[in-house]
Symmetry: D2
Subunit: 376 residues, 4 copies
């Protein structure tokens, strides 16, 4: 009977793997058990954020030695999802997810069905995309299919049991655009920065399709990046240059898993939607009158949220300046804001708030999930 382990370790800089090393050295987790690593790194989270590849290089080097694999093989086996940007008070850290197989079912919670579920994780990958497929229906459909396989890997049969789906997806580069043109194919956009948003958006729509949040009939190439009313409330996508496929990580509560961890989620309707965070906390049994007390905050293993500036330049009717600031990128403002709101709720700052929420929640809002340790 499997157990999904989750560990949060601080980092002193993007290449710092000492927390992971200590975790392994202590026996808390075995390298072979690690399924995914989420990381918040202190770059700008935009095009020239080199803290992400630096963290990946350091993680691959560390795991490579322990697993007897090449760095590339580590990357193929473990999903390494680095999210740049710790604006405001956010604290750089790693979230390490592992799957431990335990022989018996003795730890399984007895009782009602819901209570017998525990945190579950599953991963799946699409095939490599052609450049002309990125940001289009081909990517939507392949992602939806991968979500279904990842659910199966996690042993989740009911889509209501899925609470967060993280996707790492590719982007277009000039070279990729030219390669497609050489074969007579036109890509979705020639703006490489814009391709990140289209790729995230198509991935999110694929998640929404798999989770029946969006009807397939509503989808075509033209809605990607434009129809902000079409969204998944459980999707989180980040684009990176280092891959050509989508890597999907499904997190949910599933029967057949053991352990004290559970996940819940809500959709933040805007960047200051404290009640959404408190709703997710409440689902996990946390008291939500004001900020969590320190002992309760310790029981929160992870908060995962998406942030973006609203397109109309307003939050509840009041002007924000994110979209007009040519000194600080809009997504940086958005992460700082949501990070502040989330820290107000949780009372700690090592939270996984990432930017770029196309089709991930409503315009200006986004999904938020909390993984917590259930009290005995």
């Amino acid at each position: 009977m499997p157990e999904c382990l989750a560990f949060r370790v601080p980092t002193r800089h993007p290449a710092d793997v000492s927390g992971l090393d200590a975790l392994i050295a202590s026996g808390a987790v075995a390298p072979e058990e690690i399924v995914a690593v989420f990381g918040k790194t202190e770059g700008n989270g935009c095009v020239n954020d080199f803290t992400r590849p630096l963290a990946v290089m350091a993680l691959e080097a560390s795991l490579s030695a322990r697993l007897g694999l090449s760095p590339a093989e580590v990357g193929a086996r473990v999903a390494l999802v680095m999210s740049g940007g710790t604006e405001g008070g956010l604290s750089p850290h790693l979230l390490i997810l592992a799957r431990r197989e335990t022989p018996g079912a003795e730890g399984r919670a007895e009782g009602k069905a819901e209570e017998s579920k525990a945190l579950a994780v599953g991963t799946a990958f699409t095939d490599d995309f052609l450049p002309e497929e990125i940001g289009r229906m081909a990517q939507v459909r392949a992602t939806a299919s991968a979500v279904e396989r990842a659910m199966a890997a996690a042993g989740i049969a009911d889509i209501a049991d899925v609470h967060f789906v993280q996707v790492k997806c590719p982007l277009l580069t000039s070279a990729r655009i030219q390669e497609a043109a050489g074969r007579g194919h036109e890509v979705a956009t020639h703006d490489t920065y814009a391709s990140m948003g289209l790729s995230r958006g198509a991935s999110a729509l694929g998640i929404g399709l798999a989770l029946a949040e969006i009807a397939e009939s509503a989808l075509d190439d033209a809605v990607i990046g434009t129809r902000t009313d079409l969204y998944s409330g459980r999707a989180s996508a980040s684009a990176g240059i280092e891959l050509m496929r989508n890597e999907v990580i499904v997190l949910g509560n599933a029967p057949g898993w053991r352990g004290p961890l559970r996940i819940a989620h809500r959709v933040m309707r805007d960047g200051i939607d404290l009640s959404a965070i408190q709703g997710a906390l409440s689902d996990l049994g946390f008291p939500v009158a004001g900020q969590l007390a320190p002992d309760q905050a310790e029981r929160v293993v992870a908060l995962l949220a998406k942030a973006e500036p609203s397109g109309d330049g307003l939050i509840r009717g009041r002007r924000h300046i994110m979209n007009d600031d040519s000194d600080i990128n809009a997504t940086r403002h958005a992460r700082a804001l949501v990070g502040g709101v989330a820290a107000a709720a949780i009372g700690r700052t090592d939270l996984f708030v990432s930017g770029g929420a196309e089709h991930q929640g409503p315009d200006g809002g986004g999904p938020v999930a909390v993984i917590g340790r259930i009290q005995a």
Copy 2:
């Protein structure tokens, strides 16, 4: 019997005075009644923030025509305190404070002494400082004296009735440093940016001295900017190039004032101290289980808070990156964070969060005050 009026109006850009104009046109306030204008403008809040002088120039031009005064005379009469920086989701706006004299006392609340107090405002100014006095005990003592005069102007006799003291203070420039040297005097620092912090710090210590938060025996030139344990919990200081004196605005609840507005304050111990904000709200009779409901948020006329990065690079033991970020100034991160926490509590984003909190609250924290409308 006086009443302190407070109006919050949005701005579309730093020179936008249409909200003020509309307020006057509607008869809600007369130009002669205006005592002070606080403004959040969308600059960087640092050395080269020209949104502050732009807003001041626009406000002076608008009031100058209405009052029949020159722009300089407007500036001498009305305290114009512009604070740059609306990071995260903060919304640019003006807070207009006015003193209205009403003939009778018919509106006065009856009953217990505490209930009969209402929001009061008073201003006072020091003489111009010599450059060598800035950031030193001369500024501390003159500020303390001005606070006492501003309290008298507000009719506040009890220091416990003071809840927020805003000071606008000068800074050193190369020309001022040289002028002092020409007279054989050495200034507190040759670093003009650092002089802003010393001037704010000396001003805050002066406030703390006047409010008996700090013993005079603990103060000398050497502690200014260094002894972070010495602070006022009600001080807010901002430095500007456009003046050589300190301008002091005292806000409190005083007997002898009428109207529905009250002020309360707390000290945030760090940037995510939601409970301090909720404490101030609670003092004003707001329910504080989670975010204020929209009708309650409407009753909040102003939230005034100071933000700064903690010097040790930590928030509750977890690393923040504000002090190491060479792309975004640390105070910009701090405002974004506190703005997010405050918006989580209040449910709106037009909040007066300003940066640079030397001797204004503990290291990494700062005072927070709320002005609210009491329900009948």
Copy 3:
């Protein structure tokens, strides 16, 4: 017989008009003679650059008092072209252009036709544009027509005598877009930032059309912003929110003008094209072996250049990072670069280098003009 006067004065901050005041006080120029003021201000030159309106407000206030006009009337009479961004070593300054009428022709240079020409200035304005005309052929054609009128005002009959055409043009805002939609018209773009480029581009194409650099048959709405091979080598356009018409300033050498000033221009083919600058200097009789000597540099009254990052990310085959930098806007890098190259040639840093060169010179390059004082 008219003379075009040109004065360069430094500014200590964006609202500093003391240099202009001193010029007028000294009798060097009369307020009524001033035709245009170009200014380099120290903002970011992008969307939220408020140093431009601050400088305009200060200039209008200063000239308003002297001319007995309202600030708005000053703006309607004198072309105030503020360009934000003094990256690298560029020095904030104003360039004041005036037209002085002198009774006789006694100062006129005798001799050959070319030698008898002197610096000439003329201005003209289009009507206000409808939002749906911005960035489209209507703006192209109206600009071309205004260029012809400005040439006539300057007494320039030969298009070869035009060396620099500065246009100040409008941009789209959300309100303007909606106003057009209310009348059933679709604008060229819904992206307000992109509208700045389209407006600059349409204006530049209009200049190229008037100067016969571009054939009318090559122009339609679709080429604006896309066909980088279509450009004027003498156009400089900057977009601003404060107007709805195009304001055109033509600079050339014309017969019938007197005085010691002349203008020359070249097209920089990329950002490091020193030879273009040296070519313009050479046309004016400057020695160009290396940097100008200080006495020669004094004779340069103005250098006017446009800068932009090349679209392919390369300068002479070597990668630049301007387009991938999410911390510093690409146009800021471009101004810093061209400012350095121009300062290398001239030996001074108070140069008018502005960004955003759509259809103003080839991709990655731009026009450069020099106004110099001819030696007797």
Copy 4:
């Protein structure tokens, strides 16, 4: 008889070692011959520039495999000097320096002594410093001694033959400051950013001492960072967190070396001192009327320059805004400016311009060296 090889290869991103790999694969250089790698990476060049460790990690990984050494052993053997910041038009690249031993002297240039010299390189290291030695005379003296050893390694006896000395030096961190305090020692500064400048400054003074540019009697702890009139015209220092010793690379022209490469240097007296660059080019036999022609530019293997903002805020009497810009760090402006001036001279942008020139040239200026290929 040794030959100093120098190769310049472009990088597509900070971790790109494909150019180095291709160089080795082609046989142009053997891994064992590589003595030093200088790199310009596209970070901000400030505290949180993680492109430097990313490049170092990639270079160490590449060379580690080829040399059969651990990454740490590679770092101990090859000096890896990464300089962040390619502002303006600067192009990210690597400069690979190698020492090749060749059996005979057949290639040696005959003739006069000066002509028989060729580019020479030598390296040396100090012992690790204690934290309290950084930025103080202990670092000055140890650096001077290491320069002498590096000269000996390069076979340079005459200090006039030294043209550029690059030092990589340590900085203080909070942990190091506390470690010193624990032993009862106070460090030079508690400001970790300031410690970078003090470490660079002490290193530069050490170079100046070794090269007899500065008298030992003029030096003590108090002058470090303050006496800007004391400087070396051949020093270039950069501080990094990854070492506790100084690593010294001496470049000069020495008898006993063969090959077509030579080095020359000058001191730029300010950021726009084109004549200094042209002087160095002239020493190497390049024609200097304007920009180098493409075939001449090809013969320039490297330009190495230091850039910094002048402390008085002026360049030749005109104001620059580098020191007052809270959005872009002053050293970023300075690199952009000097990069533009150098590109104007050379006609290419892959130039090694680095920032932070304390005691490296006069205030606002800095050394510049050129390595060129002599024509047969």
